[in-house]
């Protein structure tokens, strides 16, 4: 069974208060030197059958219509071996 990962991130120009809250907490916990944090979502898909071009195209379509809202988010599809 093949695994495909879809990473979804807010577009750079969209304010990410969750990431900022994490970033502000870091120094309090003793983790210095992190200038910025942005929080995203990762989907791991177990795919039946081969991950050929057609399967990848379907996953791309799935990410674009459902997993990500492309008004506010970018996404990247990666095949894991």
């Amino acid at each position: 069974m093949a695994r495909v990962v879809v990473d979804v991130m807010l577009k750079p120009e969209i304010l990410d208060p969750q990431g900022q809250a994490v970033q502000r907490a870091l120094p309090r916990l003793g983790f210095e030197g992190i200038a910025d944090v942005r929080q995203g979502k990762r989907f791991e898909l177990e795919v039946d059958g081969p991950v050929d071009e057609a399967a990848l195209a379907r996953i791309h379509e799935m990410a674009e219509t459902f997993l990500a809202n492309t008004v506010i988010e970018d996404f990247v599809v990666k095949v894991k071996s």
């Binding site: 969209i14 304010l15 208060p17 997993l67 008004v71 506010i72």
Partner: protein
């Protein structure tokens, strides 16, 4: 024959009973609609009520947008049927691309619940005709994902076309761009807003006023006149 106004219940919808009640108090016939049914039971207009449909697990409104009832609602809305999306309903309308932009987590990350002052910026939509342009109203607001965002081009277009229907007054409760509380589509039949007019239709509850009733009397007048 009075107008029939449908209110959709998704799993996780919380405010459907209040919306049905508001419809009835305005003098229309309330009709319950179920998310699994494509059939709209011949209603003249639809309200998408507040709550956390499908738990908002992916993004607020994202899963509901693909429910069978929404196939018909999207179709009918594009051919002119009036649709009002309140809170989670507004989120569903943006996810369905019936309204532009998107709704994100409040900028302060807290759930917020308060009486909210709004200015009616567009009193010509199907759901706002009983208000005056510039009128200030107070209705309850309660949400986690109420931050309206869109890119500059879309925001400028909304402003230029008078499609910002409501703006927050005194306090922007969630970081919405340009204090936008609600918008309409170009045709004026689809309206979405974060605050809850259906909770301000009787003096006994909500804000203690009836500022929200105008939404439901507006649509009734429009439908009876049509």
């Amino acid at each position: 024959m009075t107008a029939r106004i449908g209110v959709v219940t998704f799993p996780g919808t919380l405010d459907d009973q209040d919306a049905l009640r508001a419809v009835r108090l305005a003098g229309a016939e309330p009709v319950s609609l179920w998310h699994r049914d494509k059939d709209l039971k011949q209603v003249d207009a639809v309200v998408l009520a507040g709550g956390f449909s499908y738990g908002d697990y992916l993004r607020a409104g994202a899963i509901s947008r693909f429910s069978p009832v929404m196939e018909t609602v999207i179709d009918q809305a594009r051919s002119g049927m009036p649709v009002l999306g309140i809170c989670n309903g507004f989120q569903i309308l943006t996810e369905a691309h019936l309204l532009p932009g998107a709704m994100l987590r409040n900028n302060h990350l807290h759930f917020i619940c308060r009486d909210q002052k709004l200015r009616v910026e567009n009193a010509e939509t199907a759901w706002t005709a009983d208000y005056e342009q510039g009128q200030e109203i107070s209705v309850p607001l309660k949400n986690m994902d109420g931050r309206y965002v869109a890119d500059e081009r879309v925001l400028d277009e909304l402003e230029a076309e008078g499609r910002v229907a409501f703006r927050y007054l005194d306090l922007n409760p969630n970081g919405s761009l340009r204090d936008i509380a609600g918008i309409t589509n170009a045709a004026g039949n689809v309206v979405g807003l974060m605050p809850h007019p259906e909770h301000a239709v009787e003096p006994l509850i909500g804000t203690g006023g009836t500022d929200g009733l105008g939404f439901f009397t507006s649509i009734l007048k429009k439908l009876v006149a049509a």
